[in-house]
Amino acid sequence: MGRYIVRRLIAAIPVLIGLSILLFAYIRILPGDPCVAILGQHRTPAACAALREHLGLDLPLWQQYISYLLKTLSGDLGSSVVNSQPFLGEFLTRFPGTIELTAGALIFSIGVGIPLGRLAARKVGGWVDGLITGVSLFGVSIPVFVLGLALVVIFGVILGWLPTQGRIDARARFDATSGILLIDTLFAGRLDLFVDVVRHLVLPSIALGSIPLAIIARITRASVIEVANEDYVRTARSKGLKEKTVDNRHVMRNAWLPVTTVVGLQVGGLLGGAVLTETVFVWNGVGRWVVDAIENHDYPIVQSTILVFAVIFLIVNLIVDVGYALLNPKIRYQ
């Protein structure tokens, strides 16, 4: 098992290097004078000089790359051209919001998606199956922000059941230590605020999680159907095992496998979709920050955000692969 993890880590290195090269090149291939291209309307002679120095544009290319690499690894991910704040600090302030949102969406999509998929597989061909498949189809066909807007209109504007903006009531005052409000409110003993945070999480999580929900439901259904037809399930039944045992130990233990892989892949989509969701729900996270950065042509922010998200995605996939190997002994012992 340990060897497998090491192998996976080693395999990830070329990708990380490639990623760094890509992002390094990204800022340098912007058309035109870098000063104009990057700083845009914020350019001043002093800023230009600082930029030249920061990017090391007078040095040979490979030296620039090494410099970029070293800076990145030491946490210097550039600064905003708008307010000159370094990336890392700003990012860490906003990241917990995105984590909460992504976690909410993930819980929603897995918590609802897998049972739905199982149900559809059990009643395959019936109307329940058709309904679930239809819902799943709808889920992948509706853009995250359209669904978000629709939810806001229905539940916020028309019904007024749930809040549609922000992460918590704007008037709330309490100690926010970690930035993850679910945890902070609990630690501060403010159960009322905790509930408020949860209420704010509902609609954005549903919107963001809709596509992964649909995909997870689909793959679970397909996987369960396929496994249910395998010979070893027939063997299990012929041994006189209880149907529940057959279902859990023989069908699901094998059906999980493709689902796990898919869940890992969906995280990438979630990170991207967070950008749109945060815009719709005025959610204070990295997504909104990136959108603002786009409008302001704040390239260093865009570049570093992409880098960080990609690294997170790679890490998540590594964890998923390890999880998959834990579940599937054939991979483990290769």
């Binding site: 990204y26 922000f145 990438g268 990136v290 390239y299």
Partner: protein, 295 residues
């Protein structure tokens, strides 16, 4: 009822018309796929016939602001008094054009890369695969955002950005197919009887490798329409802010949700119907092109 066997040679005769013939026949019986086809036809007709059936000029601001749907303005009007129905029709043009363009471009880029990787194998394959890994590690929206931010706004840039985010998937798909097919029994058999490499590639490998690609392209087209709208919504759509691109039109929808919820319904509905169409068709194609299914 006479037992068939008693009269004729009991071979079950149901002529096979080859992969495509069988697929077409199975597709015709697949009801969801037909529904999808209808949606796609609607979408395409809206796009193609927009100049002819559009009741108003999509740029003309002749209605009052944010009107609810009425007989004159079927979908209502937007902030500047423009007829939303007309704008949706013209918006279909943009979605279709950019979407199809992006997918075709992605097929070209990804296809060529995948063919090289799968055809040559070895070091080249390794390098190309690492490169696709890099691109695949970036969430596709962010990749597209990055490219459009760098290249500037515009329809071609949009097309290119979306194409780049899908190309790696196509590359992997084709490469995977080719690698698997190289070892497939019937390819080895063809080699044994002395067929040339070119002939093997064209007659044996490509037809089988292309079908998953076609299925994927159809499904990707659905996502492309959605992604294009997403980028428009973020303000990265075509440069001219008056352009009736569906995602860009939805920016207003958010600002005026209280007073004008109809915007979301109709524009969102257009996007959903188009996407559902391609998804249904893609699923139908996948089922009917699978030669292993007996029916």
């Amino acid at each position: 009822m006479m037992f068939r066997a008693a009269l004729v040679d009991p071979q079950i005769v149901r002529a096979s018309r080859g992969l495509w013939g069988d697929a077409a026949r199975r597709l015709r019986r697949n009801r969801p796929a037909l529904v999808g086809l209808v949606c796609i036809v609607l979408f395409a007709l809206a796009a193609i016939l927009a100049p002819f059936i559009s009741p108003f000029d999509p740029y003309a601001m002749n209605g009052s602001s944010l009107d609810a749907p009425s007989l004159t303005h079927l979908f209502g009007t937007d902030l500047l008094g423009r007829d939303i129905f007309s704008r949706v029709l013209y918006g279909a043009q943009i979605s279709l054009f950019v979407g199809v363009g992006a997918v075709v471009l992605a097929l070209l880029i990804g296809g060529v890369l995948g063919a090289i990787a799968g055809g040559f194998g070895g070091r080249i394959d390794g390098v190309i695969m690492r490169a696709t890994d890099v691109f695949l590690s970036i969430p596709s929206i962010l990749l597209a955002i990055g490219i459009v931010t760098a290249l500037g706004r515009g329809m071609v840039q949009l097309m290119f950005a979306i194409a780049v985010s899908y190309a790696p998937t196509f590359a992997r798909l084709l490469r995977g197919s080719l690698l698997a097919l190289r070892e497939a029994d019937y390819v080895v058999a063809a080699r044994t009887i002395g067929a040339s490499r070119m002939r093997i590639l064209v007659r044996h490998m490509l037809p089988n490798a292309l079908t998953p690609l076609i299925v994927q392209a159809t499904l990707v087209l659905a996502t492309a329409i959605i992604d294009i709208a997403g980028l428009g919504f973020l303000g990265l759509g075509p440069a001219d802010p008056r352009t009736p691109e569906w995602g860009t039109m939805l920016v207003d929808a958010r600002r005026f949700m209280q007073t004008a919820p109809h915007i979301v319904v109709f524009i969102g509905g257009a996007i959903v119907i188009s996407a559902i169409g391609f998804n249904l068709l893609g699923d139908g194609l996948r089922e009917s092109l699978d030669p292993k299914l007996k029916r």
